[in-house]
């Protein structure tokens, strides 16, 4: 397609649209996408971003493995997941585009704005690669718009690697009619650590993109924001965890670098000092847990943030915190596993490890936020529970929440979220450090500095006085008391809400970041006339009450999870030996209901369309079980 001037481009008004920007790693596609997402959210659009991350920092350029970028789904209503396929893509070369094509990430008739320099490149092998890629993609009805991105960028900068992304931002700003004043402001914010000259050049490049698009692009998409909405904030899940930790009054974050959890500490490192908090970068994952436990034992509230391999290393310390009843909050930003697995990719496969990772009986509380907003608020809940019950609280988020950016209502801060200092009144002679309330299993916590409270805490089996004992009755009682606390907590929880009718053919059950995709799939199924509802659990240990009652309303119940399960019908797989999704396993055990699962480990978020397809198939088959 050649460039041409159009006086009045075709304008399509849409309820939502999904955009991707992909480039070689290091060309700034992510920055461009983040600014576009932030501006859209700030204009009031619903928005959800997902990073497209290559495995290496500097993979070879112009290869499918180099694809780096971001998907931004914007809408007139709140957006709760990354959607199905991208409808508009900006690609800086055909190879990174090919990577997305091969992943079925692009809509059948997607509009593709592509750098056109490769088609006519002086290097024959590059021209051949272009032709081969175009041939491979020719089966689709993609609509290509060839854009001289580098050529245009070179009119304003000598180094196009640092500038093409801003030109693209301008294209998108024009196509989606973004508020240019906000775009300029957001550029200034993103490059606040750079010189004024850099900011000015980036703004100029963006404006060049706008005018090029105005002169050459024959279409525009309008995704109008709603007229009114509450005051919103925009951030990713790891930032929400960090701000939630501050809101909760947590004072010390002990951590060891691990993807995708580390950015919590990057962000905290920037701002924690200014509120009297400390980020301690420990020598290893084990030490990070130990430092948090030591600080918590000494009366400060501490947390540690990690991912799967780190959670594994912290296992023994977590057992100690359970045994000695030391309050502790652990955030596990889940990634693909086992072992090093897929560090930058999402998975929900640490659920059983979080519940049962410790040898011996180690009851813990496990929470799973399902949105960025919940990432913020769950830290306050987690701290409260950890201190009230003298227990370990594991917060399970994942890479999808960690890196995704979305707007949510601005939290109304409340100073009461900061729990009071623990009771420091002197301890009388008859009091004991584990004087378990027979009914509740709770006991008063003594803290160093507290007069009369001296005792030696131990990970060995101990009695009320914290004296080591292996007496059968004492160990039975202590185990009962530690377990009782979870039942007490469970008695305060509400049943999870059902989205959709309380009766039907199929109930989808999820946990964590898949909520938006599951609910969207169920809503679309209902729209098609299928009797499908969904429910989502935010407490995994203890389980929320009323589940069995909820399940009774449906002919089939199925969990949807981002973890591994055997597929029925595969070689050797039988009803008896089938390994099931982690939540379904727990629910079957807790409720004795025959709960099925549909789980996948693609290393990326589930798409609502995939879930919908499974729902249709299942209901078409009748009782699939």
């Amino acid at each position: 397609m050649t460039t041409r001037t159009t006086a009045s481009p075709r304008l399509e008004t849409l309820p939502e649209h999904t955009v991707e920007v992909v480039s070689d790693s290091g060309e700034g596609a992510q920055k461009c996408g983040q600014i576009f997402g932030s501006v859209s959210a700030k204009m009031g659009n619903g928005c959800w971003t997902v990073e497209i991350i290559p495995a290496e920092i500097q993979p070879p350029a112009r290869t499918p493995g180099s694809a780096s970028g971001v998907r931004i789904r914007i809408g007139s209503e709140p957006i709760t997941n990354w959607g199905d396929e991208a409808r508009l893509v900006v690609a800086l070369n055909e190879q990174v585009l090919l990577a997305r094509h091969r992943m079925d990430a692009l809509a059948e008739d997607a509009v593709i704005l592509i750098e056109d320099m490769w088609a006519t490149h002086s290097d024959e092998s590059i021209r051949a690669a272009w032709d081969a890629a175009m041939k491979e993609m020719s089966g689709r009805a993609y609509r290509f718009v060839r854009v001289p991105i580098e050529q245009q960028t070179l009119t304003l900068t000598d180094n196009p690697r640092h500038g093409k992304n801003m030109f693209i931002l301008g294209l998108l700003a024009w196509i989606y009619d973004r508020d240019l004043a906000r775009v300029r402001k957001q550029i200034a914010h993103e490059f606040r650590k750079k010189s004024a000259e850099v900011i000015e050049r980036n703004v100029a490049l963006m404006e060049l993109g706008v005018s090029w698009a105005e002169a050459n692009v024959p279409f525009r998409f309008a995704v109008p924001p709603p007229d009114e909405q509450p005051e919103m904030v925009v951030m990713n899940g790891n930032q929400a965890i960090a701000l939630g930790a501050i809101a909760a009054g947590l004072e010390l974050c002990a951590m060891y670098p691990i993807t995708p959890a580390t950015s919590v500490s990057h962000y905290l490192g920037e701002i924690f000092d200014s509120v009297g908090g400390i980020v301690h970068q420990a020598e290893d994952e084990i030490a990070a847990a130990g430092v948090a436990i030591g600080a918590s034992y000494a009366g400060k509230v501490a947390f540690t943030v990690t991912s799967g391999p780190g959670l594994a290393l912290k296992t023994e310390f977590i057992g100690l915190a359970v045994m000695a009843e030391i309050p502790l909050v652990i955030v596990d930003v889940q990634r693909g596993g086992p072992s090093t697995g897929m560090p930058t990719k999402v998975e929900q496969a640490d659920l059983l490890a979080a519940l049962y990772g410790q040898p011996g009986d180690a009851p813990k509380v496990v929470l799973a936020p399902s949105t960025m907003e919940e990432c913020f608020h769950c830290m306050i809940t987690a701290r409260r529970i950890a201190e009230a019950l003298r227990c370990v609280v594991v917060v399970l988020t994942d890479a999808n929440l960690a890196t995704g950016v979305t707007p949510f209502p601005r939290p109304a801060l409340d100073a009461r979220w900061h729990s009071r200092q623990p009771d420091q009144r002197p301890v009388t002679e008859t009091e004991r450090p584990y004087a378990w309330d027979e009914r509740l299993g709770l006991s008063r916590r003594f803290i160093p500095g507290q007069r009369g409270g001296m005792h030696t805490l131990t990970g060995l089996a101990h009695d009320e006085a914290s004296h080591v004992t292996y007496a059968a009755d004492v160990n039975q009682r202590a185990s009962t008391m530690r377990s009782r606390k979870l039942a007490v907590l469970q008695s305060t929880l509400l049943a999870p809400p059902i989205v959709g009718p309380a009766e039907g053919d199929l109930l989808l059950v999820g946990w964590g970041s898949t909520k938006g995709a599951i609910e969207e799939a169920a809503a679309r199924a209902r729209h098609e006339g299928l009797a499908v509802s969904s429910t989502h659990l935010s407490f995994l240990s203890p389980m929320q009450p009323g589940l069995k009652e909820i399940f009774k309303g449906f002919n089939q119940v199925m969990t949807v999870e981002l973890n591994y399960s055997d597929r029925p019908g595969d070689p050797f797989i039988t009803e008896e030996n089938r390994r099931r999704g982690q939540l379904s396993l727990l629910l079957r055990a807790q409720t004795l209901v025959d709960i099925d699962c549909w789980t996948r480990v693609p290393g990326q978020p589930l798409r609502p369309g995939q879930i919908l397809e499974e729902v249709r198939e299942r209901l078409a088959k009748g009782d699939a079980r």
Partner: protein, 317 residues
């Protein structure tokens, strides 16, 4: 480790209190008869009395092993944690409550084997605490397994043909770590020197690392026998700036002059030799202490909420 700062949480104490030995006595020690740990416990209790440390302001942190039962036998706060991990716990305590007096008690398995990573980094953090390595050259509690400090050729249950490797030298390792600020060695059978060493360690501002050679009468009765019987086999590092224990001067006449500010000399004297060397190898009170580097002012809930609000503004739509 002599910060006489009042705890934020407990400065309600105003009356004069005097602590006698009984104020520091916990459960009766259940180590074997003849175990060197008894002597170390007595020295620590004497230190607590002499320094009049408030029991509620003092925390003994240990790992796992015979020596790690130490906190149970005291009536201070105690943290008997997991194997090898005493130092991270102590780091967390000191980082969040720098006004507490923190003592860390580890065995040679704890410090030099399973927890060796924490040892290296603990020295580097140089937090104001006393770290005791009670080194009996063997795993005792689990019944006679070779430890990193077991002499080469010494038979154990895990290496019955004799230890395959030359032992690790804890003093050399510690003196090799950036930011080491106090490194001393003493022995359980020289109580006056042991006490003087603990006292100097406590008075040091920074991490005071004290290796205490400790007899195990059950598994390694021979290892220190010659040194115990023959005072000539013990060389005392001597210097006006070193550790003063005049009570032992008449018996231990084999002395080396060593200035504890001389790191190179300290590393030379720390090398494994035929003799047992006790005394202060190195001291530099000017090394930065992590809890001071990282010290931050305390904010009220309202102040924190205000700062948080300002931060939320940055994310506002």
């Amino acid at each position: 480790m002599s910060d006489a700062v009042c705890s934020l949480l407990s400065c309600a104490m105003d009356e004069e209190r005097v602590f006698g030995l009984s104020e520091y006595e916990g459960a009766p020690a259940r180590w074997c008869a003849g175990c060197g740990d008894h002597s170390i416990l007595a020295a620590a209790q004497r230190l607590l009395v002499e320094e009049q440390l408030a029991p509620e302001h003092t925390v003994f942190v240990s790992g796992i092993g015979c020596s790690s039962r130490f906190p149970h036998y005291l009536k201070t706060y105690g943290f008997h944690g997991i194997h090898g991990r005493a130092l991270p716990v102590a780091t967390g305590i000191k980082l969040s409550r720098p006004e507490l007096d923190v003592f860390v008690v580890m065995g040679d398995g704890d410090c030099c084997s399973i927890g060796a990573g924490h040892w290296v980094h603990g020295i580097r953090y140089n937090m104001n605490m006393v770290v005791l390595l009670m080194d009996n050259n063997i795993y005792g509690l689990t019944k006679n397994q070779t430890s990193p400090t077991t002499p080469e050729g010494y038979a154990s249950n895990t290496q019955p043909q004799g230890s395959y490797l030359a032992p690790l030298n804890p003093l050399s390792v510690t003196l090799g770590v950036t930011n080491a600020s106090f490194v001393a060695q003493t022995a359980d059978w020289v109580p006056a020197h042991l006490f003087a060493t603990l006292k100097a360690a406590y008075r040091h501002k920074g991490l005071a690392f004290v290796r205490i050679l400790q007899r195990c009468p059950i598994w390694t009765p021979d290892i220190f026998r010659q040194a115990v019987i023959d005072p000539e086999r013990t060389q005392v590092l001597h210097h006006p700036a070193g550790i003063e224990a005049p009570e032992i001067d008449e018996i231990y006449t084999n002395r080396i002059e060593h200035d504890p500010s001389d790191l190179d000399a300290a590393r030379t004297f720390a090398r494994t030799s035929e003799n047992v060397r006790i005394g202060l190898f190195y001291r530099d009170a000017s090394r930065p202490r992590y809890e001071e580097t990282r010290h931050l002012p305390v904010f009220t809930a309202e102040q924190r909420m205000e700062a948080l609000n300002a931060e939320l503004d940055r994310h506002a739509v």
